[in-house]
């Protein structure tokens, strides 16, 4: 029973989500509607991208706290290029390349130079934000062309072009991580690095790739952010990396690496975003948002921690039970003792 619960974190989360929706739907009729769904989905896109990238890095038993700054930096590159007259597709390419480069630098430091990921990305958290501020001269980027904002426009059923891209990316990530050999490597490297190396997995390259993927995801989040807001403030994306880590934990991604699923992260992002929208609907003042989100996160983690402890204790007990299995074990010892007695 416990094993089932621990293994099916996603299912648990979906059940909690369903119960929460039912309760909110009962308390505030009209919440459960297509409009709410489309609002939730479109306002979850940025967090979805950052969380997805962060997940890939966490799977390999690293962490990336710089993705908010990567978002800001690549959004600035996008905005500056556009305002300099670069065409939209090319500007997006610049933006994604910036994210990829930023991620590659993180990956280089962690995978090849051996700097602990928390230290390396704390450094680049400041560095990338700093580069952004230098590039923009500390000013907000406004007057973005209509073409960019059109990417976030509703194409029908509340879906924008960006929604479709992000959902496609989520599905792609799911396929790569679940169904391909290289995807399996991310799990293996985080689960037991020595074992992965022992079996010929290119441990360093896998970690490096994870950081590059995260950078590209953060850059895409920068595109979404700019298109949705219509301007790029200095602090674009600031603090979202911590929210993304929280989402990952909530979605069942172990910070120790090796476990987690795209479905879990997806559900957790929708969950967190839904809370925000539900609070509005229930007319609870917005300043309760953080308190409630934090409380929910902590309760899930406490429960999860207890379950894990119990499972660990069981595994340990099973391991040492080896020595308590019947009298045959003591054959050698008895023989030796008989020998001693006979002397």
């Amino acid at each position: 029973m416990l094993d089932l619960f621990a293994r099916n974190r996603v299912a648990t989360l979906i059940v909690v989500l369903a119960v929460a929706y039912a309760a909110i739907g009962a308390a505030a009729p009209g919440y459960l509607s297509g409009t709410t769904a489309s609002v939730v989905v479109s306002s979850s896109l940025v967090l979805m991208l950052i969380s997805l990238g962060t997940m890939i890095v966490i799977l390999t038993r690293n962490i990336d706290v710089s993705s908010g700054s990567v978002l800001g930096l690549s959004a600035a590159v996008l905005g500056l290029s556009l305002n300099a007259g670069v065409s939209l597709p090319l500007a997006i390419v610049f933006c994604l390349a910036t994210g990829g480069l930023a991620g590659a630098f993180n990956g280089l430091m962690v995978a090849y130079l051996g700097i602990p990921s928390i230290v390396a990305t704390l450094g680049t958290l400041g560095l990338y934000r700093g580069i952004m501020l230098v590039l923009t001269g500390g000013r907000w980027i406004e007057d973005l062309p209509q073409g960019l904002k059109a990417l976030a426009a509703n194409l029908g059923f509340g879906f924008s072009a960006l929604t479709i891209v992000v959902l496609a990316l989520v599905i792609l990530a799911w396929i790569v991580l679940r169904k391909t050999r290289f995807g399996r490597y991310f799990y293996a490297v985080g689960d037991n690095r020595a074992a992965a190396h022992h079996l010929g997995v290119p441990v360093k390259r896998v970690q490096f790739t994870a950081f590059v993927a995260t950078g590209v995801c953060a850059a895409l989040a920068g595109v979404v952010f700019s298109a949705q807001i219509g301007f790029i403030p200095n602090q674009a994306g600031s603090g979202i990396e911590l929210k993304a880590i929280a989402v990952n934990v909530l979605g069942g991604v172990s910070l120790l690496g090796g476990t987690g699923s795209v479905a879990g992260v997806f559900a957790a992002v929708i969950f967190i975003t839904s809370i925000d929208s539900a609070l509005v609907f229930l007319k609870i003042p917005a300043y309760w948002n953080d308190f409630i989100a934090g409380a929910i996160l902590l309760s899930v983690l406490l429960l999860d921690g207890r379950i894990r402890q119990i499972i660990d204790r069981r595994i340990r007990a099973r391991r040492y039970a080896v020595h308590d299995r019947g009298p045959t074990q003591s054959a050698e010892a008895t023989m030796a003792r008989t020998l001693e007695a006979g002397r």
């Binding site: 399996r184 293996a188 391991r319 080896v322 030796a336």
Partner: protein
């Protein structure tokens, strides 16, 4: 046996040398393995077995020498390369990815399609007649099953050479039998197997040939039938004339031994059961056994680090229940852990912090570094710790000096009973003699000492009495004529013992 090039040869090592820094561990080892041969590889701790294995399986690079697997040379040290050539090392502790499925664990890193791999693994599972749920999570696997997973990893990679590193050390007799049946099946299929073990009885049961490694040299090699157990144990444990070490006993008189300090009655816990022993003031009790015999678990249970399941511990006439490290330290029962890097020292902290760390709960709220330094300086003088000063970080010291600092830390608690777990592991000869002297002096001062060691020479030199642990149980006691041979016979659980 390295000479004749047989058609069925699957592995050949020629003149392998390896040293770590200035310390040579392998001095020209040559070995060969035929298809279908089960070749026992024996050696005491530190004989070079594990280095040899790591070199064969591509984990570390030899300084010189050639390795040939299935007729092709191992060109560079990489586990994947060795596996490509057809050699797989089944380590003593399986490398398991706990969060992946069993099938994923077996097939990780292989290029074939999942369906092909699955059917191949299923076929192998059937051939070996094991029952294994391929879709279960690996974390839940039992130790024996983890080992099967490792063996399957090798087989699915078409390994023609398997190295089994102490495969039975954590298995029950039933599981051991099952493993041996599988080894015989593999043997029939022409797989060559290096079988590393401490247990002579098992070696007799499963192996056809044997090589004994001592101090980095093969001292005995050939068909197992040609050698008696006594010859093998003798080859393994023959006392080397060590470089300038004081080999004579401590010269303390038994009359110095006082009243019982610690009595353990029927103690059971994780990894050992039903252990009873007594140790008296001024006595050095050797607790001998091979790695994995349960000695460290026993000591950690005494010191309150692990839960006990049965038995009692009587310290100075009163039963010590609900033990915790703090309680034990306060009463004077002190444990020096086996792994000084992980459990002993605070490597980044200054030496004087290390020494006062055992008693940190007794220090005043506002620390007085001056007096802590003074305490350290006293130990430094009396033990001959070589360092730049009390403020030096522990990481910078040599193994021997680190061990002395650790000992000073234990002594700062003024122990009545001191449990020393492998006190000279990784320590050079000179520092080793210093530590021996210290241990003797402590005993002369009336401290009761339990000396845990896998180095039987060490026990022979120091101990007044020896308890042997084997397979998690008491393996016997030696009160007179303590010798390496006698200890080895009990510790290895040799069948030879029957007619000794």
């Amino acid at each position: 046996m390295t000479g004749s090039p047989a058609a069925g040869r699957v592995a050949k090592l020629t003149d392998i040398w390896k040293s770590y820094g200035a310390v040579p561990v392998l001095k020209g080892v040559s070995l060969a393995l035929q298809a279908g041969e089960v070749h026992a590889l024996l050696g005491g701790n530190g004989a070079g077995k594990s280095s040899l294995m790591k070199i064969m399986s591509g984990v570390i690079q030899a300084n010189s020498g050639a390795i040939e697997i299935n007729g092709r040379a191992l060109a560079h040290a990489s586990p994947a390369h060795a596996q490509d050539l057809g050699l797989y090392l089944v380590p003593q502790e399986a490398h398991i990815l706990p969060n992946q499925s069993v099938l994923e664990n077996i097939c990780l890193g292989l290029a074939a399609s999942p369906r092909v791999l699955r059917s191949r693994v299923e076929q192998l599972v059937a051939e070996l007649s094991v029952s294994l749920d391929l879709d279960a999570q690996a974390a839940a696997l039992e130790i024996a099953e983890r080992q099967i997973v490792e063996i399957l990893r090798g087989l699915v990679r078409d390994a023609r050479v398997l190295i089994l590193d102490e495969p039975t050390s954590a298995l029950t007799p039933f599981e051991t039998n099952a493993l041996f049946q599988r080894v015989r099946m593999l043997q029939a299929q022409g797989v060559g197997i290096f079988f590393i073990s401490h247990k002579l009885r098992e070696i007799r049961e499963i192996c056809g040939t044997i090589s004994v490694l001592r101090d980095g040299v093969i001292v005995l090699s050939g068909s197992l039938d040609n050698y008696s157990d006594a010859e093998i144990i003798d080859a393994m444990s023959r006392v080397q004339i060590a470089e300038g070490s004081g080999k004579e006993r401590g010269g303390r008189k038994v009359s110095q031994i006082g009243k019982p300090r610690l009595s353990v009655r029927g103690l059971s816990g994780e990894g050992f059961r039903n252990i009873s022993l007594d140790v008296r003031a001024g006595e050095i009790l050797g607790l001998a056994g091979v790695v994995g015999a349960g000695r460290t678990e026993f000591a950690e249970t005494l010191f309150g680090l692990r839960p006990q399941t049965a038995g009692s511990v009587i310290f100075d006439g009163a039963e010590l229940t609900k033990r915790s490290p703090r309680l034990c330290i306060d009463r004077g029962l002190v444990y020096l852990p086996e792994d000084r890097q992980q459990h002993g020292l605070f490597l980044e902290a200054p030496l004087f912090w290390n020494v006062s760390s055992y008693l940190v709960h007794r220090l005043p709220f506002f620390l007085r570094p001056g007096s802590e330094r003074k305490v350290f300086d006293e130990f430094r003088a009396s033990m001959g710790i070589k360092c730049t000063g009390p403020g030096q970080e522990a990481r910078g010291l040599s193994g021997g000096n680190q061990q002395k600092v650790l000992l000073a830390k234990c002594l700062s608690a003024r122990p009545k009973v001191l449990i020393l777990d492998e006190p000279t592991r990784g320590v050079d000869v000179a520092a080793r003699n210093d530590i021996y002297e210290l241990i003797r002096k402590l005993a002369a001062d009336g401290v009761a000492i339990i000396l845990i060691s896998s180095d039987f020479d060490e026990i022979e030199q120091l101990a007044d009495r020896v308890e042997v642990m084997a397979f998690g149980q008491s393996g016997g006691e030696i009160t007179e004529n303590i010798s390496v041979d006698a200890i080895a016979r009990l510790a290895f659980g040799a069948s030879e013992a029957r007619h000794a």
